[in-house]
């Protein structure tokens, strides 16, 4: 009798513990919460990326939780600092997955750190959305656990740039001045490639500079000699501002087009009149200081959540991470109450042109590709501010055609 009572008690106790855990033992998911592991640089020179990502995610999570959460569960975030180092990113991700037992990962890091974790994420079969990095390895080769959010493929930059410069700006003679570091060099290579393959155009001249250069006279004189119709500046805001100013000083009257990284308030602020008419492309459909009601609403919510935010925030990383948090929340909602990794992935693959508001580009995922966004919005500097240009690409992307 005594033994029977003990056994019954043990069985009841075991059943209690099983039932009181989430019904389907999915890591990171309990009856009342879903745990997301985020990572990105929140210290060091690239901190503007990770801080933006973290704060954008937190703002979205707060709003989603205030509205009732996902299927009655609140979202929780643990964010690890990777200091833009691949090894620290990997260490952080391992901790999130193995110790913190997150359901999924949110990559708010640059390409450098992202490539350091991809293999581990694939091996551990943890879903990860990459919001900011454009590293090709995220989507090529296709892996169902990896999603690319608001940012786009490196190849797409070249497609859009070449299309805009030749069809939008109607130029045939194009000069390229690009930074020698990885991101601008990739942009320049991609632009050169698509100018040739799509429009059979070779740049009339291509010159390079180093990040941190203070004078671009030799490069600009070489460009002036080649007499292009459009000059593409592919680099970062400090150099872009100096190039624009010096170009006008040296008498270059051509139209200047900038890569995505040059679309920054620092460029018209520092180049002043020299930046007027400067065009570029941006990952958001409207600029950060836009009077569009959705952007105004976002800024107000941001200011309320972070009343002592530093100047220059929110930046585009804040917005990208904010909107991508809503993307994954939508995926979780569609996956239903019994949330598992496979159901989440299948639900994400039902998203077609999804976006939380006009501050985001539409996101689409299918069972054949997880490239959420293929849009870049052209902008132009008018009266010292970036304003959108009404322009659509003239041809579809080749990015989705590739195996």
């Amino acid at each position: 009798m005594k033994k029977l009572l003990v056994c019954t008690g043990l069985i009841l106790l075991t059943t209690f513990f099983i039932v009181s855990e989430d019904a389907h033992s999915q890591q990171g998911v309990t009856n009342d919460s879903i745990l997301i592991g985020g990572f990105g640089p929140i210290t060091g020179p690239a901190a503007w990326i990770g801080l933006g990502a973290r704060d954008g995610i937190n703002l979205a999570i707060k709003e989603i939780n205030s509205a009732g959460g996902i299927q009655g569960r609140k979202l929780r975030l643990i964010f690890e600092d990777d200091a833009a180092s691949p090894s620290r990113a990997l260490a952080g991700v391992k901790k999130l997955v193995d110790q913190d037992k997150v359901f999924m990962l949110f990559c708010g890091a640059g390409s450098n750190s992202t490539v350091g974790v991809i293999d581990f994420v694939k091996e551990r079969k943890i879903p990860m959305i990459v919001s900011i990095a454009s590293a090709p390895g995220v989507t090529r080769p296709f892996n169902k656990y990896l999603f690319r959010g608001g940012t786009t493929e490196v190849a797409r930059y070249g497609e859009i740039y070449s299309d805009f410069v030749t069809q939008g700006l109607q130029a045939e003679k194009i000069a390229i001045i690009s930074g020698r570091d990885e991101y601008p060099k990739n942009e320049a290579d991609s632009l050169t490639k698509y100018l040739k393959s799509w429009f059979n155009i070779d740049p009339v001249v291509r010159v390079e500079f180093n990040a941190g250069d203070k004078d671009f006279t030799p490069q600009l004189l070489e460009i002036k000699k080649a007499n292009p119709e459009v000059v593409a500046i592919l680099g970062h805001p400090p150099e872009a501002a100096i190039i624009l100013r010096q170009a006008r000083e040296l008498g270059l009257e051509q139209h200047f087009f900038g890569g995505a990284a040059t679309v920054d308030p620092a460029v018209p602020l520092n180049a002043k009149f020299a930046a007027e008419g400067f065009t570029g492309t941006f990952l958001l459909p409207i600029y950060l200081d836009s009077k569009d009601t959705d952007m105004v609403k976002f800024r107000q919510a941001y200011k309320k959540e972070y009343p002592s935010h530093p100047a220059g925030r929110p930046n585009w990383c804040d917005v990208m991470a904010y909107t991508d948090t809503y993307v994954i929340a939508e995926g979780m909602k569609r996956a239903g109450k019994n949330l598992t990794v496979d159901k989440f992935i299948s639900a994400m693959e039902t998203l077609r042109d999804y976006r939380v508001s006009r501050i985001a580009t539409p996101r689409t995922f299918t069972s054949e590709h997880h490239i959420g966004n293929l849009r870049l919005q052209p902008l132009v500097v008018l009266n010292g501010r970036w304003v959108p240009l009404a322009w659509e690409p003239s041809r579809p992307s080749d990015v989705l055609k590739k195996p």
Binding site: W48, K214, D215, P218, Q219, E222, P238, N270
Partner: protein, 291 residues
């Protein structure tokens, strides 16, 4: 062709003046205290940001911002010398170098913490204009930087030659013990040297900011300034200026006539070649030692 060369000459002198201003600060601290100050680039950056605070945030007029910044950053130089470097006076040189690197990183990260990594604008003292003559175009702000570099060098030359304090600093740099015996407070001279060196860095930051913007990595110009100092001879102030101008000119002309890729490392090639023939630089001299 003449127009192109004159254009390149102006560009080279302009960027060379930036190197010269930073090199002056490096050489000063080395001459007086044997310390190679790798935080000089970040002191330049701090000067630009403090000027930004005064002129943009507090809306002080340019010259008021300029002088207040110089005073504040001079104070920073004294503080760094007293707190960070004087305690290490007997430490091996490598330790002191690491300390200067650490101080530089602390300053840079503090700047990032407050202002983030955005590029800010510091207005010049006068409206920027372009002087045109045939095909040649010259930015007046660039001329201002060149002129200021030369004026500052002249003032320092007169200071060191003619003033009691300047002579005291020269005597400390030659022989600390002898200077002490002559009643000179070596510690006070160190503090003053660091104050002047920091002021030079701040002045460089304020002068170049309207041309390149204000951002945390402005101080990376230290690398080229260091090369300029060695080329000029690390114990000569005039050499630092000449070295800076030479580096600026060689970079610009090589970028135009050879390639922009070459521009990046031509300064280092010049350094190696020069040191093979003149190991103490253009103006440096071998230190004579009594044996």
């Amino acid at each position: 062709m003449l127009g192109l060369n004159i254009q390149l000459l102006v560009a080279g002198l302009s960027v060379g003046s930036i190197y010269a201003l930073v090199a002056l600060g490096l050489v000063m601290t080395y001459k007086a205290s044997d310390v190679l100050n790798f935080a000089q680039g970040e002191i330049l950056t701090a000067g630009a940001y403090i000027a930004l605070l005064f002129s943009v945030t507090l809306k002080f007029p340019y010259y008021q911002s300029f002088f207040l910044t110089i005073i504040l950053i001079s104070g920073l130089g004294i503080l760094l010398e007293r707190v960070a470097f004087r305690p290490l006076i007997m430490a091996p040189p490598f330790t002191i170098i690491i300390a200067t690197l650490a101080v530089g990183q602390m300053i840079k990260n503090l700047i990032r913490l407050i202002w983030q990594s955005d590029v800010h604008r510091l207005s010049p003292p006068f409206r920027m204009a372009i002087w045109k003559w045939q095909d040649i175009r010259v930015n007046t702000q660039a001329v201002w930087v060149i002129a200021c570099a030369l004026i500052i060098t002249g003032i320092l030359a007169v200071f060191f030659r003619s003033s009691w304090l300047g002579k005291a600093m020269r005597s400390v740099s030659q022989n600390q013990q002898g200077a002490r015996l002559m009643g000179i407070s070596v510690e006070r001279v160190f503090s003053l040297t660091w104050a002047i060196s920091a002021a030079l860095g701040a002045a460089a930051g304020i002068l170049i900011a309207p041309l390149i913007g204000v951002y945390p990595d402005m101080g990376l110009v230290l690398v080229k300034a260091f090369v300029a100092s060695i080329i000029g001879g690390f114990t000569s102030l005039a050499g630092a200026v000449v070295g800076g101008l030479v580096v600026g000119l060689i970079e610009t002309f090589s970028g135009a006539y050879i390639s922009s890729t070459f521009k990046e490392f031509v300064a280092f090639i010049l350094l190696i070649v020069l040191l093979m023939f003149r190991p103490y630089g253009l103006f440096g001299a071998k230190q004579a030692r009594r044996v």
